[in-house]
């Protein structure tokens, strides 16, 4: 049974047992505009929460992508290598960016639910 949560840096994270799948939210892709390249992280790398893991380049700007949670990168979405625009098309589903094997599931509890994230967007846009 998986559950989805959101970070203040506009990543979404879905956990299924000890595997977390991470991508950027629809709001994030809308603000970035046309995405042209995704520089994927290296498999096997240990990362800590709020560390920059990879970079998304849009026509407008380069943006760092952070991991919301600690873990080891075990898989990256190779589809994004040839088609960064997939992040614009389907950011919260087929355009996931990387998967982590997580250590501390309790970190997940610090993140926002969908309702909380939607509230957060309202305050952030003010």
């Amino acid at each position: 049974m998986s559950e989805k949560k959101y970070s203040k840096d506009h990543e979404w994270i879905e956990i299924d047992n000890d595997i977390a799948t991470i991508g950027i939210t629809n709001h994030a892709q809308e603000s970035l505009g046309d995405i042209v390249f995704v520089e994927l992280p290296t498999i096997g790398k240990q990362v800590s929460s709020n560390e920059e893991v990879c970079v998304i380049e849009s026509v407008k700007a380069a943006s760092d992508i952070y991991t919301p949670i600690d873990g080891e990168i075990i898989e990256v979405n190779e589809k994004l290598n040839d088609n960064g625009a997939l992040v614009n098309e389907d950011p919260e589903n087929t355009a996931w960016i990387f998967k982590l094997k997580i250590k501390d599931p309790s970190q997940f509890n610090d993140l926002m639910s969908l309702t909380q994230y939607q509230e957060f967007l309202k305050t952030e846009n003010k």
């Binding site: 046309d34 042209v36 390249f37 380049e57 407008k60």
Partner: protein, 339 residues
């Protein structure tokens, strides 16, 4: 004008290359200057054109120059009859309005700042079909201009633009500009486009932008825009910076303006330093974007002439990435020349 409308920069970019885009460039400066001796002498001090050779209904790409021959602004100047009077009509950059208008106000008499006119750019291969409700559009070739009427108001229509495509720029009084835009947008061949696409289109077309390729410390010759100078003026002491320009034209230039292309998947961004293989800085990227036509990131930059045949690099996120130097423009322009 926004960075982009709903469909995004790349979509708008392709809209212009494949059909037509409408850019509301009303933020740009427009001035009508009465043609008289004092004004011609004053303009000749700043603008490197031979004013005796400027023809009616022609547009000229030129500059306002400072005492060192540096570019205060780049502009389009044309000579037109407007409301039965002879004028120079200048369109200049929004970002340089303050500097330009100070020069105009201090040096000219009898001029009209067209603050109540919108400026609309229609760009793309279908432009002439879209604008054919303005009769005068049919007799214009690239870099030609005329006046016409729309709802009993005088408008200025020029076959110019900054995307590398055929197109028109039209100065329309604000009180009828909404109606003008509505007529244009009734045509499904044209869509509104924003600043983002305007930038990526002009980079593909190899065109310079003030603040990126052009500034007060760069002369038109250093910016590889020598073609636009009327060379006879470089012997004329009344032109700002004439000696410097003369010497540059007959001597050596240190840096060259080049096209740059990403080899890997690195995005080129302005103000990025360019290095040689020994990791010495030899230039910089002045503009960068993604070209949906070429499917890679492209840019414009300045590099030391002696390095032009060598490998060049940028440092991105601690990685040395090689760039290739390519000739400008990235894509051939499709202006309707003639006449």
């Amino acid at each position: 004008m926004p960075i982009n409308y709903q469909k995004g920069i790349l979509n708008e970019h392709l809209q212009v290359r494949e059909s037509a885009g409408l850019f509301d460039v009303s933020h740009m400066g427009q001035i009508l200057i009465s043609i008289n001796e004092k004004n011609t002498i004053s303009l000749s001090k700043f603008i490197p054109l031979d004013f005796d050779k400027i023809n009616f209904n022609r547009c000229y790409y030129s500059f306002l120059l400072n005492n060192d021959g540096g570019i205060i602004d780049d502009l389009i100047i044309s000579k037109i009859k407007y409301q039965q009077k002879d004028f120079f009509y200048i369109v200049y950059n929004a970002s340089r309005k303050k500097n330009d208008e100070e020069i105009f106000i201090n040096n000219l008499n009898d001029y009209i700042l067209l603050t109540n006119n919108s400026l609309l750019a229609i760009q793309g291969p279908n432009s002439e079909k879209i604008i054919n409700f303005i009769n005068e559009s049919k007799n214009l070739f690239f870099m030609q201009t005329n006046t016409s009427n729309f709802l009993n108001k005088e408008i200025i229509i020029s076959r110019t633009g900054y995307t590398g495509e055929d197109g028109f720029e039209i100065s329309v009084p604000n009180d009828v500009s909404n109606q003008f835009i509505e007529i244009l947008l009734e045509n499904s061949l044209i869509k509104l486009c924003g600043l983002g696409a305007r930038d990526s289109l002009r980079i593909e077309a190899g065109l310079s932008l003030y603040g990126n390729e052009l500034n007060e410390k760069i002369t038109p010759i250093e910016a590889s825009l020598t073609w636009s100078l009327h060379k006879s003026r470089l012997n004329d002491e009344s032109l700002n910076g004439n000696k410097i320009l003369f010497n540059q034209l007959n001597g050596e230039i240190k840096n060259l303006k080049v096209g740059l292309k990403s080899i890997s998947r690195t995005m080129l961004r302005s103000n990025t330093k360019i290095y040689n293989i020994d990791k010495n800085q030899i230039g910089y990227i002045s503009s960068g974007t993604f070209s949906p036509i070429l499917g890679s990131s492209i840019g414009i930059g300045y590099i030391n002439k002696s390095e032009i045949n060598n490998k060049i690099y940028i440092l991105i996120r601690n990685n040395w990435e090689e760039l290739s130097i390519v000739s400008l423009p990235f894509i051939q322009n499709r202006y309707k020349r003639g006449g």
